[in-house]
């Protein structure tokens, strides 16, 4: 990651698994998770988004058109250590669900915390994609996760 500071945040180059990179604006501002809402998305088996609900659009800051077809890692915040997702694929490959607390990146550079659950979509024995549902986490879980992820960087 290379940082360039400016007055309204910093530009960070995010490197994904596999070597792809993108530049993203990072702003130190948390957008609170709305009460009672679930953020729902589905991807194909390779992680490309095929469905988002309105709560996803609202919280991510992207339009629906920008999200459909994008890789789900468009939400990846540079403060999230790769190892935090390490168990995700292993868990999903066993056909079971994965839970985790995740700091997500918005298009405007701000962030929001979620409690995420991901499950494989199995049709006739085949994994045809993944459904991810995010809900509001407690402040204590966010604090615990921040402390943990800081040690994993």
């Amino acid at each position: 990651m290379e940082d360039q500071n400016n007055d309204d945040g910093r530009i960070v180059t995010i490197t994904y698994y596999g070597g792809a990179t993108r530049e993203a604006l990072i702003v130190d501002h948390e957008v609170p998770y709305p009460d009672g809402k679930l953020i729902v998305s589905r991807t194909d088996p390779k992680g490309f988004i095929t469905h988002v609900n309105q709560a996803f659009v609202d919280m991510s800051g992207y339009s629906r058109e920008e999200l459909i077809g994008a890789n789900h890692n468009i939400l990846r915040h540079p403060d999230m250590p790769a190892v935090a997702f390490a168990g995700l694929w292993e868990t999903l490959e066993t056909g079971t669900k994965w839970h985790g607390y995740v700091k997500n990146l918005r298009k405007d550079g701000a962030f929001y915390w979620v409690k995420a659950t991901v499950i494989p979509n199995i049709r006739d024995g085949e994994v045809v994609g993944y459904t991810s549902v995010r809900r509001k986490p407690s402040r204590s879980k966010i604090r615990e996760s921040e402390e943990l992820y800081e040690t994993l960087k």
């Binding site: 998770y33 709305p34 009460d35 009672g36 809402k37 679930l38 729902v40 589905r42 469905h51 609900n53 309105q54 709560a55 669900k97 409690k115 659950t117 991901v118 499950i119 979509n121 049709r123 459904t131 991810s132 549902v133 809900r135 509001k136 986490p137 407690s138 402040r139 204590s140 879980k141």
Partner: protein
């Protein structure tokens, strides 16, 4: 052969007559005798479902998951624009204004409605509350949940939004809503069992056109449903996947 129809026990008491009208309408459409069996208890109904005593069911989304994935049922229709949402409410004079004001030891009144209870528990998570640090009392319907609040036997109650809205103004005025879910894609569905598969095309055609004639419309009105819309397999699977993410 008589077909057996049943309804998720969380139906509004005001709609009992409506389900008998629907039963009669169904008999005429299918040219077959249909018996309506209503249950007070979700568990008793599930036992009969597993014993293959049910051909047609208007099921809550939680049971729809079991019916489709374990018992081979197929969802064919759902009410138009009637998602199942959950409300957490408390007494109007309670000191808390949001879920995050709630503390360990909170007394919860709930029902055995699996969707509403699951969603209610999820909406308590932001306050770090779970079954280990609250007390839960089960009531048999939403009126009794409301009464538990008003009699100060419980601090908060879980309600199906439609159930909360059916409470009298007198009761509602003594309560306030702390949070309402906004999920939109979870809803009751009409499902048919494996033994009725051949009748699906006819039944679906009649259901989807039900609001177009006076008799059908009047039955729908008595059920509080505007019209049916079709459910296909993928739409059903999507809802079930979503429910699966919510089950602890």
């Amino acid at each position: 052969m008589t077909l057996n129809l049943t309804v998720s026990p969380d139906f509004a008491p005001d709609h009992i007559a409506g389900w008998y009208f629907f039963n009669t309408w169904l008999q005429r459409q299918l040219g077959n005798a249909v018996h309506l069996e209503l249950y007070d208890s979700f568990e008793e109904q599930r036992q009969d479902l597993r014993a293959e005593k049910v051909d047609l069911i208007y099921a809550n989304p939680y049971d729809a998951s079991m019916l489709v994935r374990e018992l081979g049922f197929e969802a064919i229709a759902r009410p138009l624009a009637q998602p199942d949402e959950t409300i957490i409410a408390c007494r109007e004079d309670a000191e808390f204004e949001s879920v995050e004001d709630l503390q360990p030891g909170t007394r919860v009144a709930t029902t055995s409605d699996p969707d509403v209870h699951t969603m209610g528990m999820i909406m308590l998570e932001p306050a770090d509350l779970d079954s280990s640090n609250i007390s839960i009392a089960q009531r048999s319907n939403y009126v009794l949940v409301a009464k538990s609040l008003l009699k100060r036997e419980a601090d908060i109650g879980f309600f199906l939004k439609a159930g909360y809205q059916d409470l009298s103004a007198l009761i509602q005025n003594q309560m306030k809503v702390l949070v309402t879910s906004q999920i939109s894609v979870v809803h009751h569905t009409l499902l048919v069992g494996p033994g009725m598969r051949e009748q699906i095309p006819l039944l679906q055609e009649r259901l989807l056109a039900m609001h177009e004639d006076d008799k059908g419309r009047s039955v729908l009105e008595s059920l509080g449903i505007e019209q049916w819309e079709s459910m296909d397999r993928e739409r059903t699977e999507f809802m079930i996947d979503l429910i699966d993410t919510l089950i602890p």
